[in-house]
Symmetry: D2
Subunit: 383 residues, 4 copies
């Protein structure tokens, strides 16, 4: 089963990169984003550095100069090429990177039959890590394409229009709730330890806010009314000249993976920052749920699936990304995976159309800074 997960995951990454030309795969449109080629290489480096080197005797690093290029942020694993300059790596070529992937795949195949539990756990982590980069690959290339006046489509065929159910408030009685991963199946360290949280009674929407609803907010002058915004949010609106969601065009159309399309009023609004999500909620007379409310409510009947294959979006919560009580990062490089990012970011829950099937869970904690708006991130109201 781990073999299957590994094979499927590795193949899917290549498939996601397939529509991209060599030039596309090298685009880096901002420091926060990475080239598709870099994602292809980095996910392989992760297996090489954390699995193969420590656990496969006799493993030879594919190229000794590459770990420096493809280490993302692991201080304990040596120096790194500056993040904003990833787009300047025309060499190694996309073909060479694919060769790197094959080299790593072959070594993993050698290792798997004899892998210790520790090694198997790291391989599983590497697969889920790669799934995270699959989503980033899509959001990053979408941002890069949005910077090209030609607005190319990643995948030209248009999806079916979305169908949003009528909005309804689901009631949750509150109480002492168990939060965090139950222990069955894989989870990231940041989803634990499982612990109890006391919630007051609350209501939460059965579904995400739609583009139609958000368009009303825009039309009502939401981006011109400072009192709706958090202070940092309003400062950002003014400094960046925000007037609508990131990929909404001036003519009312919306840019996305399928190119420029008419705004679909039933589709969830995406590519929102936390600031925009909060301002909308304020305007709507509601608020964002905390991540604990979200997790508690996710089992309520009528709580719409987070990650619709075609239309889902992550949902900003009113919780900052902080360690759960008793959280301890693991020893070694793996300990740098999550814990060191636990400040200055907000938690998102759910999953999106770009999230690989099976990747997210109700306890899953995604996180981004409050100004980030290039993800498939929207909101679900609470009150």
């Amino acid at each position: 089963m781990l073999t299957d997960l590994l094979r499927t995951t590795r193949a899917r990454t290549l498939a996601l990169a397939a529509p991209l030309s060599n030039e596309d795969a090298q685009l880096q449109s901002m420091p926060d984003a990475s080239p598709a080629k870099w994602h292809l290489a980095h996910t392989s480096w992760f297996f090489e550095a954390l699995v193969l080197q420590p656990h496969l005797p006799g493993y030879c690093v594919f190229d000794e100069r590459w770990p420096r290029l493809f280490n993302s942020y692991y201080e304990s694993l040596g120096p790194r090429h500056a993040r904003p300059q990833r787009g300047l790596l025309s060499r190694p070529s996309l073909d060479e990177v694919k060769g790197y992937r094959r080299h790593v795949d072959a070594a993993l195949a050698d290792l798997l039959p004899f892998a210790s539990d520790a090694a198997r756990a790291l391989i599983e982590l590497g697969c889920h890590h790669e799934q995270q980069h699959q989503e980033l690959l899509l959001t990053d290339i979408l941002h890069a394409f949005s910077c090209n006046p030609l607005l190319p489509a990643y995948q030209p065929q248009r999806p079916e229009p979305a169908r949003a159910p009528a909005q309804a408030w689901l009631k949750h009685p509150g109480g002492v709730i168990d939060i965090g991963h139950t222990g069955a199946g894989f989870a990231f360290d940041n989803e634990g330890p499982r612990h109890r949280v006391l919630l007051e009674a609350f209501e939460i929407s059965n579904r995400l806010v739609t583009c139609g609803e958000y368009a009303d907010f825009v039309a009502a002058g939401g981006y011109r009314e400072p009192l709706l915004w958090l202070s940092d949010g309003w400062a950002t609106v003014q400094a960046q000249g925000w007037q609508r969601p990131l990929y909404w065009q001036q003519d009312g159309s919306v840019f996305g993976l399928h190119g420029v399309q008419a705004l679909d009023p039933d589709a969830p609004v995406t590519q929102l920052s936390f600031y925009e999500a909060c301002a909308f909620a304020e305007w709507a007379g509601a608020r964002l749920p905390t991540e604990f409310e979200w997790e508690a409510a996710s089992i309520l009947p009528g709580f719409e699936q987070a990650a619709d294959p075609a239309w889902g979006a992550w949902q900003w919560t009113r919780s900052d990304y902080a360690p759960y009580p008793g959280f301890k990062p693991a020893a070694g490089a793996v300990g740098e995976y999550n814990g060191k990012f636990m400040v200055g970011q907000q938690v998102l829950r759910g999953g999106s159309l770009a999230t690989p099937a099976g990747h997210a869970r109700p306890s899953y904690r995604n996180f981004f800074p409050p100004a980030a708006r290039w993800q498939f991130s929207g909101l679900r109201l609470a009150r």
Copy 2:
């Protein structure tokens, strides 16, 4: 009693500014800080705009051009002079600003005997608001003086050396705890609504981390070891070249309100950012308490006073500054006081040597961005 509070508060602000020359009172050393003269004027504007104009019939604004200069961040009260340019206001002069204060004081004296409950509540708010600015006046002038190679002393006489008790761990059993202001006496809106929080058992230090303990961290290479730091913290250490707390000099002495002094190993370490507090805690094998743990523990026997008259320091907590369940900002300008800052900041609890007596409470929530290090901010360990 409100009369007393008002008189005492207004007088104390002037007393704090007394050691400053006209030139000192105009210093603005960074966008986050304000000139002492501006603090003197802004706190008067606050009474003028929120109390006198709405509640004293016939009140005449002191100068119609000044609200623009001394409104801090109230979007609902009109346009504002750009914050980073407050230090460029040589006019009005310090004397004119003192005249403004007298004008406002006289009008408040006229109003007080006949003030409605709503007006009295706003006057009380204005006093606590002014007390907050008293602390900022001190931390801001200290920062400004630190930028002068002559390192002038705000108050030359040296205080008594600090005496730190032996460090001990206080045990708290956890459980469902009531958090937030009880309702007796004044509190800011962000301290409520009072609500229940479920805590796991924890231990907390009886006292703050001392300069001596922090010096060990510095000497052990704490500022050179990335694995001790949050990712944003380490990026800041490198970008800003941090090597020790803000006012520690290379020769081992420490700059403060009393000028340059020998490091006092028993004094609480102050002028720390949240990042530095976290890195120290990591190095010490401990962590920061959440704001809820802090509040719950504050009544434990042996929990040392937060605000020692001579040596206290605010204590960074592991909680971000977020609304309590059910929090709603008030309608009108007062609603901009706290709520709109509830993102991207960490809560500090306690109080400091610069906090006016009687200002802080166990439920009091101070807040600053994680990189801010010009406050009297230190830490108390938990585990």
Copy 3:
């Protein structure tokens, strides 16, 4: 006579600072500008460091910590306080700086009767240096006042309206012209060596461009037409949002040393950048003269005085600030006075209402970067 120059110059600096409050004297509104108090101190430091220390046996530095504060840019004279932080020096106070001036004056009085020729030459240089700072003191305080929404007046009384003569073209036949200082009286090193330049025949305007003429350029859309501008100029117009000269208000009035006044159509336009001067000339079908043309033409009959006591302005030329053939900076600190600035700046000729009487000469070379617009800088057309 040197005694007179010294006494007059030193007294005039104080007189220029007299209308300023202690707070005014500390204003620094941008890195390129300096506080009036700093000008008062720096000009004294110049005498101390270049004249008194080397030439007056037994001279005691007024305060050993001050040279670091008041050295402007002399690498050979030790480390310096960062230029953009001059406005943060509330200490020493204005009174202490005046004491510094008296200390230096007294020592110069001691030295003068016995001064060597070398020392006398340096004292003369110090006087002309101080005269340059007199002009900067005025342009810097004007800029600082322009950042205050109250727009205070340095000198409230309004001057007589200007009278501009009718515009006329003066013809110059060209030929081999002697350029540079003749050697009689004081000159800065950058005015020599005197040398020959070959000029083609040209015409030059008898007077400066007026505010009325420039207002026509503004009204004709000059700030919106890229083809009139140098490439760097247009980039600056867009990046800075320039729409009119620096101190022209949106309502058609003009801010200046006398506060806000109606635009005087006959007054020379001032506070122009080189970019604006070039764009105007292009629009007017003319060009700027070179500094050599300007100097050659300055003796033509009808060539209006450069520095009208009330209304004069420096005139941008089409010449960059470069060394004359055979120019060699002097040995020692004095060599840093001019030569090291000879790149990236344009020469201005003439003088302005803020130039001390007797300071400028036909061979005088003022210089500023092409984007600088806070000086009394205008233009005279050529063709």
Copy 4:
């Protein structure tokens, strides 16, 4: 002959791009540089917009969306994609751009037999324009490769070592010299009008400064001695941390088009800024020639060829890039070619190993800002 020039030039651009992968051809490593693919497209757009559209009846623009992408800086020819974002244009692909080139070539072939003199002049300009971009293509890709830790070689084979003749001073008697293009053959508008300049007698070196000589300057601490530098130069040295020429490695080797090679002491030093050239000259007790001295001296016997096929370098002069007396930009878009850049830049004379054969002339004026150091720019001493 124009046909030959056109064919050769167009073919050579493609040949220069031949060693580059699709990814290489898209690299933009700084705002000042452009991707090779962009150079290929822009040079074609130049012919399309300035020659084919106005002069070939019935010409169809290849793609109506492309002029916006490939217009460089011609305000009169419509809006432009932001320069720093040229590297984000993964589409159109390199193949599509080559198709664009063929489309333009075919149309030019149609036009040529019937082209008016005006059209022929523009075609000739387009060829020389494209030759300029050939040099930029090389310097830009070299800069991009220098940002890749793998330091790829554009052209791996190592050139023959350079042979520098012994340094000697050539004497020029000065006098009235004719400067500027004589009128025979093509020249850019900035090379005229031809006019007379009066020069004093001077001496100029027979050859360029070598890497060996420059290495002595580095070893002597040239980058640590502020008194050798222009003020802006020293500020740049400190702000950028310059310690040696741009492509000199810490281990003494040098990166270039042929990859990393041992420093060749006889080769001209290149990739110098004007600031570095001036500091070296100061250290060597000499100076840079003016562009007029350079042009006058270029016919002296022994004046070494500017553009050695393998080793030449442009030579910074002490002249800013300013219009010659009587210079008038042409009407229309062509007028934006040179004139609007005439401020803030220094003239370079000669030519480099990257300059196409036959492109440069003694009257040729190359120009770059004084801090630019990614060109094949060195220096020749004068005194």
